[in-house]
C-alpha cells in the first residue's frame, strides 16, 4: 500500500515535471507547424484558401508533370556551387587562418568578413548589381581598363552564384572559425610530434575531427542558399536563372490569376526537399560540442604560420576587399552621388537630408528597432526554454526532446515568402485577431529567428556540464535559484549573442515582413523595398549606410561576447 502511494506520488511529480516541456512542445508545434499545415492545405485545393473550392491532388500532378523539377534542380546546382566554394574558402581556409593561426589581424578579418550576415540581402544585391553590371559596373570598368576584359556579369548564373558565395563565405566562416578556435591543440601537437607537416595535420586530423560541425554548417548554408530570394530575384530573374523562391514568387505575383495552390504545393515540396538536409544537419550539429570540448579540459593554441604569414595576410586582405569592401564602398559612394552610377552628375548630401527628414522612413527604422527588440527578446526566452529542455531535460522523454529540437529547426526549411503566406492565411482565418497587427508580425518574427536563437542556446547549454547545476542543488538551491545564480551567469554571453543575431535577423528580414506589416506601420526592409521600387537607389544607399552602423556595432558586440565567453570558460576550466 505504501509502495503504491509512493508510486502514485512519483507519477504525479513526473506528470508535473513533464507539463512544462509538453506545453512548450505544443506551443512550438502550433507556432511552427500551423502555417506549414495551412500551406499544405492550400496546395491541396483547386482555389486559393478562403475562396470556394474543392480538395484535389491535381496540383501535385501539375507539379510533377511540369518543368518545376528543372527549377528545383537548377536551384540545387546553383546553391551547391556557391556553398561548396563558400565551404572551401570560408569554412576551411579562412576559418582555419583566423581561428587557429597567428595571422596578423585575425580578429579583425573574422569580424569584417562576417559582416555581410548583418547587412540586409537586398542591399548586397543592389551593391553587386552596381559593381558587376555589364559595361558600366565599377568592377567591370576597372577590369576592362586593366585586364582588357570584364570579370563579372552579375546578371547571370555566375552572378547569382557569386552573390550566394559571398553570403556563404561569411556564414560558414562565422561558425567554423569558432570551431577551429576551440579545437583542442593537443590533438594537433600529437600529429606534429608524429612528424606530420602542418597541411597534413589540417587535412588528416583537424578537418576530420571537425567534420560533424563543418558538414552541419555546410548543410545549413546550403539550405539558406536554396531559399535565397532577394539576390536571385534582382540578379537572376532577368537572366533566366530559375530559383525556387523566385518561382514561388512568380506564381503569386505574375500569373493571372495568381496561382496560389501551385505556389503552396511548391512551398511544401521545398520544405520536403530541405527537411532531410535539416534533419541531418540538426543531427550532426547537435553533437558538436561533445567531440572536442570535453569536461577534462582542453588546450587552445595558435599555429605559427612562419613564412606563410604574409601570403596568408594578403589572402585575407583580398577576401575582405572582394567580399566586403567593394559592395559596402559602392553603397557608401552611392549614398553621396546625385544619381547612382552617373558620377558626372556630381555628389551631394541631399539624399541624407531627404532620408533624415522623411517621417515615414524614420518611423520604419523605429518600428524595426522596436519590433526587433520585442521579437528578439521573445525569441530568446522561447529558445532558452527550448534549449533547456533539449540540453538539460534528463527527465523528459527523449522523443519530446527530439521533437522539440526538430520543430525548433523547422522554420529554417520554409522559404520566408512561403512562411509569410502561411501566416497571412493563418491570421486571417484564425479566431484570434492577429491579422494586420504588430502582434501577428512579432509572432512571425519569433518563428523566423527561432532556429538561429535555439541553436545558439542549445550549443551554449550543451557545453556546460550538468554537474555544475547538480552541485548547486546538492548545496540546497532550488531549480529557479540554480538557474538564476549558476546557469545564467555562465550562458549570458551566448544569450546576448543569440539576442543580437535574432535582432539582426528580424531587422534584415524582407520576405516575411512584406506580406505581414500592418498598414501605416512600415519596417526598415519594406521601406527599403519601396524606395527601391520607385527607383530612389541613392536613398536606399543612405538608408543602408545608416542601418549599417548599428549592424557593425552588433557585429563588434558579438565578437566581444564570444571572446569573453571563451576566456570565461577557459578560466573556469
Amino acid at each position: 500500500m505504501a509502495i503504491a502511494d509512493i508510486m502514485r506520488q512519483s507519477r504525479r511529480r513526473t506528470s508535473t515535471v513533464l507539463t512544462g516541456p509538453v506545453l512548450l512542445l505544443v506551443i512550438v508545434a502550433v507556432l511552427t507547424v500551423s502555417p506549414v499545415l495551412l500551406l499544405a492545405y492550400g496546395g491541396l485545393r483547386d482555389a486559393p484558401i478562403g475562396a470556394p473550392g474543392n480538395l484535389t491532388l491535381d496540383n501535385i500532378s501539375r507539379l510533377v508533370l511540369s518543368s518545376a523539377w528543372l527549377v528545383i534542380l537548377e536551384t540545387a546546382v546553383i546553391s551547391a556551387s556557391a556553398v561548396i566554394g563558400g565551404f572551401l574558402v570560408g569554412g576551411v581556409a579562412l576559418a582555419w587562418l583566423v581561428g587557429r593561426t597567428n595571422l596578423p589581424g585575425a580578429s579583425f578579418f573574422e569580424a569584417v568578413l562576417t559582416l555581410p550576415l548583418y547587412i540586409p540581402p537586398i542591399m548586397m544585391a543592389v551593391a553587386w548589381a552596381m559593381l558587376g553590371a555589364p559595361r558600366v559596373g565599377l568592377l567591370n570598368v576597372i577590369s576592362r581598363e586593366t585586364l582588357g576584359f570584364e570579370v563579372l556579369d552579375v546578371y547571370s548564373h555566375t552572378g547569382v552564384i557569386w552573390y550566394l558565395l559571398v553570403f556563404s563565405v561569411a556564414f560558414q566562416l562565422s561558425f567554423a572559425a569558432s570551431a577551429f578556435r576551440t579545437f583542442d591543440a593537443s590533438l594537433e601537437e600529437a600529429g606534429r610530434v608524429s612528424g606530420a607537416r602542418p597541411f597534413r595535420v589540417l587535412v588528416r586530423i583537424v578537418v576530420p575531427l571537425l567534420f560533424p560541425i563543418l558538414s552541419g554548417v555546410f548543410l545549413y548554408s546550403l539550405v539558406r542558399s536554396f531559399e535565397a530570394f532577394e539576390g536571385p530575384l534582382l540578379l537572376g530573374a532577368q537572366a533566366g536563372v530559375d530559383m525556387i523562391s523566385v518561382e514561388i514568387y512568380d506564381l503569386v505575383q505574375n500569373r493571372l490569376p495568381p496561382d496560389y495552390p501551385m505556389a503552396s504545393i511548391m512551398g511544401v515540396f521545398s520544405v520536403l526537399i530541405v527537411l532531410p538536409l535539416t534533419w541531418y544537419q540538426w543531427h550532426v550539429l547537435g553533437r558538436r560540442s561533445f567531440t572536442v570540448l570535453g569536461a577534462r579540459g582542453y588546450k587552445s593554441g595558435s599555429y605559427d604560420l612562419g613564412v606563410w604569414k604574409i601570403p596568408a595576410f594578403l589572402l585575407c586582405v583580398l577576401a575582405t576587399v572582394l567580399v566586403v569592401f567593394l559592395p559596402i564602398s559602392q553603397l557608401v559612394l552611392g549614398s553621396f552621388t546625385r544619381f547612382f552610377g552617373v558620377f558626372e552628375a556630381g555628389f551631394t548630401l541631399d539624399h541624407y537630408s531627404s532620408v533624415l527628414h522623411n517621417g515615414q522612413l524614420l518611423r520604419a527604422l523605429r518600428n524595426s528597432a522596436v519590433l526587433g527588440t520585442i521579437g528578439a527578446t521573445l525569441a530568446l526566452l522561447l529558445s532558452g526554454l527550448v534549449a533547456y529542455v533539449i540540453a538539460r531535460g534528463r527527465t523528459v522523454p527523449r522523443w519530446v526532446r527530439i521533437t522539440l529540437n526538430f520543430l525548433s529547426w523547422l522554420p529554417l526549411t520554409v522559404p520566408g515568402i512561403v512562411l509569410a503566406l502561411g501566416f497571412l492565411w493563418l491570421y486571417a482565418f484564425a479566431p484570434i485577431p492577429l491579422y494586420a497587427t504588430r502582434v501577428g508580425l512579432v509572432i512571425a518574427y519569433v518563428v523566423l529567428v527561432l532556429p538561429l536563437a535555439a541553436r545558439a542556446m542549445v550549443g551554449s547549454l550543451s557545453q556546460i556540464s550538468a554537474d555544475i547545476e547538480e552541485a548547486g542543488r546538492v548545496a540546497g538551491s532550488g531549480w529557479l535559484r540554480t538557474v538564476v545564480t549558476i546557469l545564467i551567469p555562465l550562458i549570458w554571453p551566448s544569450a546576448m549573442v543569440a539576442w543580437i543575431l535574432a535582432f539582426v535577423g528580424i531587422f534584415r528580414d524582407l520576405s516575411t515582413s512584406v506580406l505581414l506589416v500592418p498598414p501605416g506601420q512600415p519596417v526598415f526592409s519594406t521601406a527599403l523595398l519601396e524606395l527601391w521600387g520607385v527607383g530612389k537607389i541613392e536613398e536606399v544607399c543612405v538608408l543602408s549606410v545608416l542601418a549599417m552602423l548599428p549592424m557593425v556595432v552588433a557585429r563588434y558586440l558579438v565578437g566581444r561576447l564570444q571572446g569573453y565567453e571563451m576566456r570565461m570558460r577557459s578560466t573556469s576550466r
Partner: protein
C-alpha cells in the same frame, strides 16, 4: 510510464491548441461555400455608408450629391443634394481614419501627396501601405473572405480592377461623387467599355513612351515610330518591362498587338531585349548606360531620372500605349464615408494638377495645363491602346510564347 503521461499531455494540449487555432483557421478558410464574399458581406453587415463596416449594398444615392469638399466648391458638381454629401463629409470626419493599400507600389507619388493633403484638410488620418498590385488584390481577397476588413481603399490598374470586380468579387459599387462629372469622356468611355465604372474610379492615365540614353543614341537617331525599334542596330540594346506578367510591359504588348500586329511583337522579341520586372531600376540602368533604350517607359517614372544628363524620353508614332490607374472600395470596409471622400478628393484640381506635374496624365483635362511644358506634349500624345482585361489571360499566354526562348 513517463512516456504514457507525457503523451497524454501532448494530446491534451495539442487538441486544445490546434483545435482553437489551426483547425479553426482551416474550418473558417474552407467554409466559404459558393457565395461570393461580396454577397456574404452584404448579407452580414449593415448596408449604409455612414456605418462601419459598410458593404456593397451601401446606398450610393444617399451620398451622391454636390460637394461640400473644398475642391468641389470650385468645380462642377454631380447630381444629388449638397446636404447628403455634407453628411458624407461629416461622417467621414467622424470615422477619422482611412487605410489605403497602394497597389501602384508607391510608384505614383501623388497617392502619398493626396493622403497628406487630405489628412491636413479633413483631419482624417490616412495610412498608406505601398505594395505590389497582386499583393493588394490578395490581401483584400483574404480580408474579405475572412471577414476582417482592414483596407478601406485599394489602388489598382484596370486589369486588376476587372479581376477584383468579376473574379474575386471583392469590391463594392462606389456610387456617384461630386467630382466624378469632371472626369474626361475619353476615360469614362474606356472604363465603361470594360464595365468598370460602377466599381472603380480612375484618377490618372499612365502613358508609355521610350527612354533613351543620349550617350549611346546620337541626336536624331532616336526611334521616331514604334517600327524603328526593330532596327537591327538596337539588337541587345533594349531593356524591356516584361510583357509576360501584368504590368506596363503587358499593357504595351496588348496595345501593340492590336495596333501594330503580332509580327511586330515577334520581330521585337527577335531583338533579344532583356526582360525585367523592376521598371524603376531599368530606368536607372538606361541612365547609367547599360542599355540604349527602355521599352515601354512609364512617363510617371520620368521625374526619377529627368535631372540626369544622360536620358530623354521620346514618344514614337502613331501613339502612346496607356493604362488607367484607378481606385476601388473593398466590399466590407470600416470607413466607407472617408473612403468615398478620398476618392472624390483624388479628382480635385489640387491632386489632378499634382499628377500632371509628375508626368501622369490627369483624368480632368483642365489639369493638364499644370504639367511642365516639356511634359505636356508627351502627355498629350494620341493614345495607341491599352490592355483588354477580359482577354488578359489569353494574351499573357501569347506573350509568354513570343518572348520566351
Amino acid at each position: 510510464m513517463d512516456r504514457l503521461l507525457s503523451r497524454r499531455d501532448v494530446l491534451r494540449y495539442s487538441a486544445f491548441s490546434f483545435v482553437t487555432l489551426g483547425a479553426s483557421a482551416l474550418l473558417s478558410a474552407c467554409g466559404g461555400g459558393s457565395e461570393s464574399p461580396t454577397q456574404e458581406a452584404a448579407a452580414q453587415t449593415t448596408p449604409t455608408p455612414t456605418e462601419a463596416p459598410a458593404t456593397a449594398a451601401a446606398s450610393p444615392t444617399e451620398s451622391a450629391s454636390p460637394s461640400a469638399s473644398p475642391e468641389a466648391e470650385s468645380s462642377p458638381t454631380a447630381s444629388g443634394s449638397t446636404a447628403a454629401w455634407d453628411e458624407v463629409v461629416a461622417q467621414a470626419k467622424e470615422e477619422g481614419q482611412l487605410v489605403l493599400y497602394d497597389g501602384h507600389g508607391g510608384a505614383i507619388p501623388t497617392i502619398g501627396y493626396a493622403a497628406e493633403q487630405f489628412q491636413s484638410e479633413y483631419g482624417i488620418q490616412v495610412d498608406v501601405s505601398a505594395m505590389r498590385a497582386s499583393e493588394g488584390q490578395e490581401r483584400v481577397r483574404v480580408e474579405q473572405q475572412a471577414g476582417q476588413p482592414v483596407a478601406d481603399l485599394v489602388t489598382i490598374g484596370s486589369t486588376q480592377a476587372w479581376l477584383m470586380i468579376n473574379q474575386d468579387k471583392t469590391v463594392q459599387p462606389i456610387g456617384d461623387l461630386p467630382n466624378l462629372s469632371r472626369v474626361s469622356q475619353e476615360v469614362m468611355a474606356q472604363a465603361e467599355g470594360f464595365g468598370l465604372t460602377e466599381h472603380a474610379v480612375f484618377e490618372a492615365i499612365q502613358v508609355y513612351g521610350v527612354l533613351v540614353n543620349t550617350r549611346l543614341v546620337p541626336e536624331g537617331e532616336e526611334p521616331k515610330t514604334w517600327q524603328d525599334v526593330l532596327d537591327p542596330k538596337w539588337s541587345g540594346q533594349i531593356v524591356m518591362d516584361d510583357p509576360r506578367a501584368i504590368g506596363g510591359g503587358f499593357v504595351f504588348f496588348s496595345a501593340a498587338l492590336v495596333a501594330l500586329g503580332e509580327d511586330f511583337l515577334r520581330n521585337l522579341a527577335a531583338q533579344k531585349p532583356v526582360l525585367t520586372r523592376n521598371i524603376a531600376d531599368s530606368a536607372n540602368r538606361v541612365a547609367r548606360g547599360e542599355f540604349a533604350l527602355m521599352i515601354p517607359f512609364a512617363l510617371g517614372l520620368f521625374p526619377q531620372v529627368k535631372d540626369v544628363p544622360t536620358v530623354k524620353v521620346v514618344m514614337p508614332e502613331p501613339g502612346a500605349p496607356f493604362v488607367l490607374q484607378g481606385i476601388s472600395i473593398p466590399a466590407q470596409v470600416r470607413h466607407p464615408n472617408a473612403a468615398r471622400l478620398f476618392i472624390d478628393y483624388l479628382l480635385s484640381d489640387k491632386v489632378q494638377e499634382h499628377l500632371a506635374a509628375n508626368y501622369l496624365r490627369p483624368v480632368v483635362d483642365s489639369a493638364l495645363d499644370a504639367a511642365p511644358p516639356e511634359a505636356r506634349d508627351l502627355l498629350s500624345a494620341p493614345l495607341l491602346g491599352t490592355s483588354d482585361p477580359p482577354r488578359s489571360e489569353e494574351r499573357l499566354a501569347l506573350a509568354a510564347e513570343i518572348f520566351t526562348d
